[in-house]
Point group: C2
Amino acid sequence: MGPLATAHFYRMLIELTPACADQEHLPVAIWADPRVPDRTAALMDGGASPVPSLVAGARWLQAAGAELIAVPCNTAHAYLPEVRRQSGAEFLDLPTAAIATALAWQPKRLGLLATRGTRQALIYEQAAAPYGIEICNVTESAQRTLVDTAIAAVKSGAGRSIATRLVTRAVCELVAGGAEVIIGGCTEIPLVASEARTVAPVIDSAASLAAAALERMSFRSPPPAV
Amino acid sequence: MGPLATAHFYRMLIELTPACADQEHLPVAIWADPRVPDRTAALMDGGASPVPSLVAGARWLQAAGAELIAVPCNTAHAYLPEVRRQSGAEFLDLPTAAIATALAWQPKRLGLLATRGTRQALIYEQAAAPYGIEICNVTESAQRTLVDTAIAAVKSGAGRSIATRLVTRAVCELVAGGAEVIIGGCTEIPLVASEARTVAPVIDSAASLAAAALERMSFRSPPPAV
């Protein structure tokens, strides 16, 4: 849904594929309609629901022959059960894929950088619960001044260097609070996490999703770099 | 058709869009089926024709509501007149877009780095003819040891640093032969042209195509960086 995040996911899918020629890559159809209503606005402020758009997209991908759908937007996962019910399509679960990547560190506490919508829907808390892993969030002040601002800066295409600094500060706050590994739980976050990775591992949830897609489609790939 | 080239084109389309939020970007559908038969093998060695696959892709994009189709593969343009005839779809012309970018330098001689298929089909010679611009090609030896090898290395995902060196050497040969500006006339070439750009401008034909798509869809963007 975020165009840059979608492009990044597609690139990760290609990079993680052990192919030696074009013809060995997965056939992919991408439905990138940025007019889908804002997911966080729908969850937090009663904005227009993204469900009708997402169902239309799923149906279009099904018509294209898609066996499996990956949605590289964490916040949209709050709506996927309903989209799955209406479309009958099979979806990968992004939070589950990201948590699976995090398990390599055997963490007790994961820091989460995500939209307010993802936090409110407890998407990562639910995915982490089976492993007894605690999810730590940034403070309300840091959410507003660091995380929300960084995500908006990436989406606007204008302020990637500023966003990089903001994400680093947010990661420092989470690490100070006891988080061992950070989940880049909004697909815009990994695009500006290079500096933050000098502080702690920051899991690229889009790369985890790409690895899960390849696994499911029977390509074996090494675990994605964080 | 080359997956990395497709991902790069999509990224260029996003980066060149003057949008401040997701919702201001173009809706995009991508049909990325790497099983399309090799275009150069079809043109040079009587391999399977890519036309049926390309027509199927065009029809699928039309069904998705696409008003305009961009094909970020130069060699495929040898087949587009037939695909256009069979599908009725509207296609942008990649060589024309790349030549339009090159005009900024007012060149007399353009160096071309492309597949054997693109060379054989005289795609760039035809696009440059209305401007009285001459197209220079590398020698047969350089085509084999530098250009073909670099393109295959990018497509295999294994040798991007080697490919970078090979492209630089090919650009040096073209410049020594009098070329003032180089056309990265295979969409894999710009992915490994960073070093070559210290020798001469290397036009990213995928970025030119993205700019042409935005222009046609009424987004005004600055000319793409070479």
